[in-house]
């Protein structure tokens, strides 16, 4: 069989992404039609930058969802004779099969690895960011609202973590040795408690006067929370639904740990600003409890900057995950995530540049999309 030409490769790659194009078209059309009813998200369609960001982010989210349909090969299978082959090389012995973007140093399909890599990034980065937000919000609200000693101590700890050079923290916290000592488990045990505390306080402060709702929501939070907690943090889920690979847990905990102090500082600053507003004074006069005011008065009014920061932070987390992969920390070397693939590819960069290029562009476009989206959201939320 002949090797594909450049234009055939482009057409081939674009065709493989068909499910993504369809999904993109449907989502954008529906959102555009109902944009007036969708609040901040609907307003995004007024900003070209925001739309560009949204398209890039949706592209990679859909790619992660449909990865099995898009990928032409298995991301881990090594085919003989395909080592370091150039883009568009036909698979030996298989009719009508090509390595669209070539083969890597271990004769695996670069294109399929990039597509499957999106799954890891799209799964970890937002989840880690959500956890970091839970920690930051649960500690930042009372810290800003009460002030005093509590605030001094927490701020000192936050500054301590922030003064730690990120890369050093990763080298120290993401190692096979530290997994033996169980330090990541302890950190997971502490950090994963915060979402449970957050939701407990959220429901408790709201439904304190309505016992049926209170009992239901608190019970649901406790059962679901500790079920997930047992599985994610200690891998002891009795039903085996929640599970996290120890390597993955190590990375996840490190990334949450690095991100939460910054979120804490932002939330604390916003709370200090918002607690002087009239509606907070009104709530205090009504006799609302402090936690009700924090979670149901302050937090909703701080949502604008927090949403923007959330987008930016997912992008930053993606970069951090890539950095970890680049230094070979955490995930196994055959993992198709982008950081690890870039690390594998860079070793032969001068001779075979094609395995390193697709994951770099993928990572860059995803982060760019998130940053553009954040910029668009900021612009739109400032308008009103």
């Amino acid at each position: 069989m002949e090797r594909l030409t450049a234009s055939e490769i482009i057409v081939g790659v674009l065709t493989q992404f068909t499910p993504v194009w369809i999904g993109l078209a449907v989502i954008l059309l529906v959102s555009w039609l109902f944009r007036s009813k969708l609040g901040l998200y609907g307003k995004l369609f007024g900003s070209p930058i925001g739309v560009a960001g949204l398209i890039l982010v949706l592209f990679w989210v859909l790619t992660a969802i449909f990865a099995d349909l898009i990928a032409t090969m298995d991301p881990l299978t090594q085919l003989s004779g395909m080592k370091n082959k150039k883009p568009g090389w036909p698979v030996t012995g298989e009719e009508g099969q090509w390595y669209l973007l070539g083969g890597d140093n271990l004769a695996r399909d670069v294109f399929s690895r990039m597509v499957h890599g999106s799954r890891i990034v799209i799964a970890i980065a937002p989840a880690a960011t959500i956890f970091a937000f839970m920690v930051g919000v649960t500690l930042g609200l009372p810290s800003g609202y009460y002030g005093g000693k509590f605030d001094t101590v927490l701020s000192f700890i936050a500054n301590l973590v922030l003064a730690f050079p990120v890369i050093l923290l990763f080298f120290l916290l993401v190692t096979p040795e530290i997994r033996e000592t169980g330090v990541p488990l302890v950190m997971a045990g502490v950090l994963f408690l915060f979402p449970i505390i957050f939701f407990l306080m959220l429901f408790y402060s709201r439904f304190k006067e309505q016992p049926p709702k209170l009992i239901f929501s608190v019970a649901a939070t406790l059962v679901l929370g500790f079920w997930a907690y047992s599985g994610l943090a200690f891998n002891k889920d009795p039903f085996g639904v929640f599970y996290m690979d120890p390597n993955l847990l190590n990375i996840f905990v490190a990334v949450v740990f690095v991100n939460s102090p910054t979120v804490f500082r932002i939330v604390r600053g916003l709370t200090i600003d918002i607690k002087t507003r009239d509606y907070v004074a009104a709530a205090q006069t009504r006799g609302e409890t402090p936690w009700y005011i924090m979670l149901w008065e302050v937090l909703p009014n701080a949502r604008g900057p927090l949403i923007v920061d959330f987008c930016l932070r997912i992008g930053y987390t993606t970069i951090l995950l890539g950095t970890l992969g680049f230094f070979g920390l955490g995930l196994t070397p055959e993992s198709p995530d982008w950081g690890t693939t870039i690390n594998e590819g860079r070793k032969l960069l001068a001779v075979y540049p094609h395995p390193a290029l697709p994951p770099t562009i993928a990572l860059m476009t995803l982060v760019l999309g998130l940053n553009l989206l954040a910029d668009g959201l900021r612009e739109e939320s400032l308008k009103d």
Partner: protein, 348 residues
């Protein structure tokens, strides 16, 4: 002002103590010590032998005592074995025990001995910091002017086409971490596939003699990621200043646009970016480690990776101290300079 400085320095020292203790704890975890023992002794040591080696070499003392020894506050351990020979932390090979100092740690300037480089650590650190210093200097010389110009030009006329273009460029650079831009630059400018073989993909030769050819790519790679952030800060600050009353007054009294920008706006707009630049220096550290690894430039970042990779505990500790020190000092300088530059802030 003086009490502010004292308080700030006090907090800094406390932070430094806490951080170095964290690093000390994390580098001296049990598995690391076992690995160290086996690489010092031999790979086939039994568990009992490992334990006794650790015992004999002072690794089995309480953690705080060992931290104190390393810092140079506590007395170094000594041990007399069956033959009456005295060994200890501060007793070097070939030096009689009586002449050895009581304390030998960071404060006495004894940074320990690197197992990888087989050299005294203070010498290594000095040499590597010099190399990284050169890199940082070039990066700052490229990054700061570029970022300030982009930010000022973009913020001068908010919402204009130039502003949109430059802002999008800033976002693009902040979305491109060093390991992405570095790889792309090497492919485009240094491999036969890009066609342009303007620069070299490795900077190993730049350690002795820096040329345009072997140093451009690492500098550009490092500078690019920081440019966007500083430029956006400058733009925001510039746009804010341009909306001030005194700028309108200056315009209305007939001063030309360039005069307004250069004489009235610029000085006020550059306060915020200046502190941001200071805070970017610790951020550059991650980039330095990535770029030095990618371009094989054997500076501070490369040494850090080597120390981690080879479980060289003392070297890693020394690198961490330097890194933490750099971060804390730049934070302090940034705070102080902000107070000095901004007359609106009064420290009470």
């Amino acid at each position: 002002m003086v009490s502010f400085l004292i308080r700030r320095t006090g907090v800094m020292l406390l932070t430094a103590l806490c951080l170095t203790f964290c690093v000390f704890f994390l580098t001296n975890l049990e598995p690391n010590l076992e690995k160290l023992t086996k690489s010092e002794g031999n790979q086939r040591m039994s568990d009992v032998e490992v334990q006794s080696w650790l015992e004999e070499n002072g690794y089995r003392q309480p953690l705080f005592k060992r931290y104190g020894e390393w810092l140079g506050v506590a007395k170094g351990w000594t041990r007399t074995d069956e033959n009456g020979e005295i060994s200890g932390r501060c007793i070097k090979r070939g030096v009689p025990a009586e002449e050895a100092p009581d304390r030998c740690g960071l404060l006495q300037g004894d940074w320990g001995f690197s197992l990888v480089f087989k050299e005294n650590i203070d010498g290594i650190i000095k040499e590597k910091l010099g190399l990284t210093g050169k890199l940082m200097l070039c990066v700052l010389l490229v990054m700061v002017p570029a970022a300030l110009i982009i930010g000022v030009v973009a913020g001068m006329r908010e919402g204009s086409k130039t502003d949109r273009t430059l802002s999008t460029f800033s976002i693009l650079t902040t979305s491109t971490p060093e390991y992405v831009s570095g790889v792309i630059f090497i492919i485009v400018f240094a491999s036969k596939f890009g066609g342009l073989r303007w620069f070299k993909g490795t900077s190993a030769t730049a350690m002795e003699n820096i040329t345009f050819e072997n140093f451009t790519l690492p500098v550009i790679t490092l500078a690019l990621y920081g440019v966007g952030y500083i430029a956006r800060m400058t733009r925001a600050s510039m746009a804010e200043v341009m909306n001030e009353q005194y700028i309108r007054t200056a315009r209305l009294k007939g001063l030309g646009f360039s005069g307004v920008v250069l004489k009235h706006a610029l000085r006020n707009a550059l306060i915020a970016p200046f502190t941001v630049i200071m805070l970017q220096i610790p951020w550059l550290l991650t980039g330095v480690v990535i770029v030095e690894t990618l371009f094989n430039y054997k500076g501070f970042g490369w040494t850090l990776v080597a120390a981690v990779g080879n479980n060289d505990i003392e070297l890693l500790l020394a690198c961490s101290v330097v890194a933490v020190f750099v971060v804390l000092v730049t934070q302090l300088l940034s705070d102080i300079s902000y107070v000095f530059l901004n007359p609106r802030i009064r420290v009470s």
